[in-house]
Subunit: 432 residues, 2 copies
Amino acid sequence: MSEAKPVRIALLGCGTVGGGVLRLLRQNQAYLASRVGAPLEVRHVLVRDTTRPREEGCEQAWITDDAGRILEDDSLDVLVEVMGGEQRAGELIERGLQRGLGVVTANKFLLARRGPELLDLAVKQGTDLAFEASVGGGIPVIRTLREALTSDWVERLDGIVNGTCNYMLTRMREDGWGFEEALREAQRLGYAEAEPSLDVDGHDAAQKLVVLAMLAFGARVREASVPVQGIRAIDAADHRFAERFGYRIKHLAVGRDHGGHLELRVHPALVPTSDVLASVSGVLNAIRVEGRALGPCLLSGRGAGAMPTAVSVVADLVDVARARIAGVAGLATRGIQMAERALLPLQEVSSPFYLRFSVQDRPGVLAAIAGSLGDNGVSIEQMVQTGAGEGPVDIVMTTHRARWGGVEQALVHINQQDFTAKPGRFLPILQG
Amino acid sequence: MSEAKPVRIALLGCGTVGGGVLRLLRQNQAYLASRVGAPLEVRHVLVRDTTRPREEGCEQAWITDDAGRILEDDSLDVLVEVMGGEQRAGELIERGLQRGLGVVTANKFLLARRGPELLDLAVKQGTDLAFEASVGGGIPVIRTLREALTSDWVERLDGIVNGTCNYMLTRMREDGWGFEEALREAQRLGYAEAEPSLDVDGHDAAQKLVVLAMLAFGARVREASVPVQGIRAIDAADHRFAERFGYRIKHLAVGRDHGGHLELRVHPALVPTSDVLASVSGVLNAIRVEGRALGPCLLSGRGAGAMPTAVSVVADLVDVARARIAGVAGLATRGIQMAERALLPLQEVSSPFYLRFSVQDRPGVLAAIAGSLGDNGVSIEQMVQTGAGEGPVDIVMTTHRARWGGVEQALVHINQQDFTAKPGRFLPILQG
C-alpha cells in the first residue's frame, strides 16, 4: 500500500508524551505506513534543551531549538504539538495552519482559550486540526463526539476528567484521609504537581469541559464563563456522610443542553453508588455522554500518562496523514458547526443538594435551619445529626430538587445566625 | 458546503432499526448534508410486506420487495443493510460490494460468518464496509478499535455484549430470582425472544466476539471455534455465594492475545465487585479493551434498541458517504490486516475459579474433594460450607490460578464419587 512520498512530521515538544509518540512511531512503523498509505517520517523535534538525552531512536539531526527552521521547511506535512502552554504553541499552530499544514495537538489549555478560532482557521485553510489527546488522555471521547454522535443531539455530559482529583477523593474515601494527606500522597506518586492549583481547584477540568462543549454542544465558550469549584473544602467526614446517604463524592465536569440555554459547571458532587461513575476510581477518568437517540454512553480509561496520551496523538496523526495523502485534508472536520451559546447562570441551576451545617446543639436550631431553607424554596429529603452534648454538632441533609441560588441564599442567612459554629456548605447531587 | 449531486441510498430492511435510521436522516437532514458535503437521498427501502405502514416520512415510492430493482439502479451509492439473517443479506451485500457500492451493515450474524471475506472484497473493490452497529448497538467500539487503537497492541478484551443475559443476571442477583423467572420477565419486557436460545446460550455474544476479534486482534476466526457457555445453569444461590466472596456474576465475551496463541471464550464469570464491569447493570453493555500502551479503556452504553443502533448506522453512513463524495472510498479500512490465528484450547486457559459442589454431609468429603483438586493442580483459596444435618450441603470455593482442563478433570472425578448429590460446577473468575 505504501506510496513513494512519505508524510513529513515535525514534533513540537519532546517531554514524556513526545517521547511516547516517537516510541509508538518506531515500534509500529510498518503497520502505520500501511494504514496511512505512506511512511510517516519525523523531520524535526523542537526542544528547549538540545543537549538532553531523548527517547531511543530519536535522531540527533531531528533535534532543534529553532522553531523558525521548522516552519521554513517546505516539505513538511504535519505539526504534532505536545509542548503545552498557550503563547508559543498557539503561535506555531496558527502559522502551521496558515501554511496549510495538518496539526495534531494535545494542548487543552490552548484549545480552551482559542479552540474555535483555530478550528475555524483549519477549515478556512482546508486542513485538519485534531485534538483527541487534549481531553481524557487515551479515551477516544473527541472522536466519539465528532463522528459517532453526528446524527444525535447530546443532551447531557458528566465527566470525571481530572485524575488528580479523582485519585485524591478515592484515597480520602477509602482511607479516611483529609485533603492535605491525600495531596501529599498524590504528589509523592507524581499524580499532582508541586503547585497543585490547576488540578485541585478545578481549572484543568474546566478547560477540558470547554473543549468537550465545542463538539458535544457545538458551543463557543470562554473558560472564564464556566463556574468552577475544586476539592479543597471536602473533608473525610463529607465522604462518610455521603456514603451513609448512598453516594460517593466525585469531582465532575457537567454539561446540560436545555435547547435555549447551555449549562456548564465544574464542582465536586454526590454520585449515587449505583451509578457507574461512582465506580470510576483512582486516576481513571470517565466521560458519560447522553444523546437523545443514543441514550447514555460512558467512556472510561487512563486520563493522563505518556503512553495513553501518545496513543491518542498517533491515532490523530494517522487520520490527518491519511487524509492528506489521499488529497482530502480537512474531511474529518467538514461541516462541524459551533455557535456562541448563552449559559444558564449557576443560580438558576436546579438540582438536589447535600447540605452540611456545624451548629451549637440546642433546641430550635433545626427548626431555624429548616425555616431558612423553606423560605428559599428548599425542602429537606433526609437528615442526620451527629455527636451530642459538648461542642458543635454536624447536621447533614439531602434536599429535594431546588434552585442553586435558593440554597446559596438560605446558607447566607443560616451562616449569620449565632448558633452557627462553622459556615454551612453544600454540594449538588447528580441525578440520573 | 453542499454540492449538487446527492448520495443515493438503498435501505435494505425497514424494521425498528430501519425506521430509526429513516427518522434520524429526516430529523438531521441539513446537518448531515453539511457533514457529508452532499445531501443524503433515500431511493429504495427493501421490505417483505409492501403494504405495512412505515415510519413517518417514508415515501411509498421508495418501498419495494424487489431486490433486483434496487441492484439495477445505476445511480446508487450506498447500501444500508438492517434486515438481518445470513443468506439474503449476504448475497445483497456481496453484489453491492462487487458493484463498488459502499455498504453499512448492522448484521453481526453475517459478519461472524463472512466478515473477513466481505472486508477483503470491499478492499479489493476500493469501497467501504462499515459495521459499527453490529456490536454493542450505540457503543462506538468498532470505531475505537479501528481508529483510536491503530498504534497500539490490544492484549485483552472483556465484554458484556449481550443485554438479555446481563438483564437476567442483574434481576437474579437483585431479586433472588431463578433463571426461569428472570427469563419470563425479560420476555415480558421485550428483552428476550420467545425462543431465547441465541441470547441465553451465548451464541449472540460469540458472534459479537468474532466480529470484535477481527479488529482487536486482526483475527480471522470461525464462530464454531469459540467455546461458548450460556447462563442456564446459574441459579440464585450462585449469586449469593459470588457476593459473599466479593464478586458478581456477569456473562462475558473474553479475548486474550498471547502473541502466539489467541484466547477467545464466552461464558458466565465472577467479576470482582470493585471492577467497573460489575457495575454495568440491566440491559447495558460494556466492552473493556486493554492496549499495551493505552492500558484499559471501557466503553459502555445501550447495546441494543432501535435508536442507539440507528445512531451507529447513520454515523457509519456519514463516514462512507463523505469518503465517497470526496473520491476516497475505502480510506477508513486502508491497511487493516487480518490473519488466521491459532486459538488456545480451552483446557489450557489459566484462571482462578469458583467451584460449587452439592454433597452428602459426612466426614472425609472435604478431604476427598481437596485431594481430587490437588491431584489436578488446583489449589483452594477460600471455602464455605452451607447448611448442615439433613440432606446434601453446598461446598463452595474459590481457587488460585489453575488450568481449565485441570478443574474439568477434577470435577469429572468428584462427580463420580458416591457422596456427590448433584454434579459439581465451576465458573472462571475474572482477574484484573
